[in-house]
Every structure is written in structure tokens, then in C-alpha cells.
Symmetry: C2
Amino acid sequence: MTSTRTSERRASTRHAGLERHEIIDAALAIVTAEGGAALTMRRLAADLGVTTTTIYWHVGNREQLVVAIVERFAEEQSAIPVIGRTPRRRVLHAAMNLWRSARGHRNLTALASAAGATTLLELPLEAALAAELGAAGVHGERARDVVQAVLACIAGFLISEWRPAEQRPEALRPSELWSRVDDPRIDPSTLRALASPADHERLVESTLRAIIDAAVPETHRGTP
Amino acid sequence: MTSTRTSERRASTRHAGLERHEIIDAALAIVTAEGGAALTMRRLAADLGVTTTTIYWHVGNREQLVVAIVERFAEEQSAIPVIGRTPRRRVLHAAMNLWRSARGHRNLTALASAAGATTLLELPLEAALAAELGAAGVHGERARDVVQAVLACIAGFLISEWRPAEQRPEALRPSELWSRVDDPRIDPSTLRALASPADHERLVESTLRAIIDAAVPETHRGTP
DNA sequence: GGTCACTCTTGAACACTGTGCAAGAGTGTT
DNA sequence: AACACTCTTGCACAGTGTTCAAGAGTGACC
């Protein structure tokens, strides 16, 4: 990865050994491969064979760097087709696209979330969801509410995966905590289930479906 | 806040000027007042009139300190009564209790979340939710799924409040981003709505209701 | 060719963060 | 008085983001 920068390229105006987009690319590579915590200014500079000051000159700030990374990634992301026969199913599919995208690029999503840039990252997919909602007859504030509820759910399920139970101290694992609970109000089978992990993939889908079904009217044949 | 520690108290065994619980209390105070980022070892030590090394001797670690804080807070939190006439409503109320609690102590919740200790923080309220689900006839894995879905939703709505749009750079605000979108598939009223903030309180409730209604059977009179 | 202006790069610092180590105070027991 | 044990300290280290004055390198102008 380390390509010690001699005077290879000097482009367009003046002497320019390093260009902004090279920095963004290198940073994006670090994030996707090793997560946002690995993205330090010194590390990034070292990967580019450059001093941190140079990074600052080009990018300004770590926060601005993160935004630039997210922006860059969002640009390159191609649209994901929405499939499904009924409007409801298409809405659900659009929502699941958001989930799959966020989960597929979890490192970047985590970073964007910390920077408050999730909307920037997922705007096209959110727009697709809004569009499907419109096709299903949901508009205005009701559509907005569904979008936000879907986003919240996805975000919530995501962060529950950021620190998987296995790599927490034992005393913090839900399995451990629930196995100690002895509550007469709660059925033993429920306690057992709470102590064991759920099938996330399926759970996300059924949760999103619940949200969507509550807001999107049943398909009635007459709809054009 | 700074009470320079002379040799005031020396309790129980040997000479003990500072006790573990004092540290936890001081740390908890910092977190609730100023957030998890303000909880640095030096700051905490200064508040107690002590060196950081002392903190380490008593607590071991920052991570362990955080866990201790969460544990301490959870112990002191009193049970919240669940009200509602029908089982469904009681389940919803228990879920909303979780939301209100998490939101009420957002700084602590954020810290616990970063440490992967949310379950430790909210276990009693989660148990209450599980109990109400049982009373509504939902047991085992289905109950677990509802609990997890509710938790995910709450977590998601919470993090969307951690960095309110007003204090982000303008280019990241949903209002700004959506106002630039010009998508013919999306109704103008929807676009307008997406650019303006939602009523979170109401949205959380309706989302949780959707999840619960989908999983909890309608109340039928005959239930004992 | 020499000078100027502008763009980019550097090295060295600053103020923070969490953490570890060796040394020492303070107290109870022998 | 001597020892053991608990607690506390000062100092250091490695790492973080960030800034500042200084300097290289290149194009344009005289």
C-alpha cells in the first residue's frame, strides 16, 4: 500500500504531487478495510508517503475528510433495482435495500453515522424508498414518517451488530445477563429465548414489514 | 465540584481516603451532566482531587469504569409501573417506558451503547416488557423477537437525536440534502415533508405500536 | 536570467487522550 | 522498631487531532 511519493505526477496547475481525490481514495480504503477507528491522520499520511500537514492542507479537517469519504462513496454507488409485484412488496424491498446496503458497508456506515452523515450516504436509496411509497399511495408527512421509522430501525439493528456479544466482557453479554434473571412473570421459554441470539436477517425483515404494513394501505385491485 | 482531598475520611480497613463508589458517583455525575466525551480520567481525577493513577488502582480501566457507572445507575433506577387496560396497550406502554428511560438519560445511554452495555442498563425495563408480552400471550422466540425489534427501534431513534441536525455542518442536514433532490418519482409534498423534521415523540410511539400490533394478537375477550 | 507569486510540503511543536511503572506515603499487625 | 499491606503519587510513554512558521517547487513576468 505504501507508495513513497517521489515526484511522479504533477498535473494541471502548478506542481501537484498529491491530489485531493487520492487522499479520499486512500482514506476510503482504510475505512472499508479496517474501520473508522483505523483512520488516523498519521496513518493516512503514511499510506500516502506524506506528512499529516499535507493531508490537512488538502482536506482541512478529519471531519471534513470523513464527509468527503462518504460523499465519494455515495457518488460511486450504483442504483439498486427495486423488485416486487405489489406496491407493498416493492416498498419492503426498497427498505431492505437500505438495510443490505448499510450492512454491506458497515464500516463506512458506522463512520458516517458518527459524523451525522448517514443521509448523505444513503440518499439515493432513501429516495427510492420514498418513490415506492408514493407508488403505493403514501405521500407527504406519512411517507416521511415511514422513511424515518425504517431508517431508525435499520440504524438500531446495525449498532447492535457493531459490538457483537462475543467480543464484549462476559458480564455484558445479553446471554449472560438474561440467564441470571429469575422473574416469575416471564415464561421460562421466553427467558431461554432472550438468552440466545436471534436471526437478525429475518428479524429485520419482519420488523420492517410490520412498519410498512401499518402505514401502506393494502393493495386493492382498482389502483391504477 | 472540586473537593481537594486532604485526609478527611479513612474508613473500614487500613487508610482509605477514597472509595470506589465515590469514583463511580463522580464519574456518573460527569456523564449525566456533560456526556461521555467529558469523562476523561484526568478530569475525573481532578474532580476528586486525586491523580489518575488512583482512579486506575480502584477501577482498573476506563471500560470497566463505564461498566461500573452503568451498573450503579441501573441499581438505583426504580421500577416504572406499566399501565393500560388491554394487554396490547400494556405492552406498548412497557415499550414506551424503555424509550422514555433511554431518552431521559441519553448521555448515559449513549455511553452504555458505545460500551455495549445497553442490556445491563435497561434489563429491568426489558424484563417488564417481556412480562407484558407473556401476559398478552406472546412467549419464547416470538417474544424475544419483539423485544429486540423494540430495542433496535429505540436505539435507532435515539442515535438520530445524538447529533441534532442543527449542529451539523449545513451540507449534512437532511433538510438541506432533500431540498436539492429533484426526483420526478417523488411527490412534491413528500419531498417537502422529508426536508422538514418529524415529530419524534409521536413517530416513536406509532412505530412501536406497529411492531407490537403485528406480533401481539388482538385482545379477545375470553382470555383469562 | 532574475524576481515575484502562488501552490504544495515539511518538521516541529502543542494540547489532549488512555495507560504503566517504580517509588513512596500511611496505617495495622507482629 | 520492623514488617506487610493498602493506597497514592509523579513521571513517563505512545497515541490522537491540529497548528504554525518555514521552506521547496513551479509558473509568469520583467
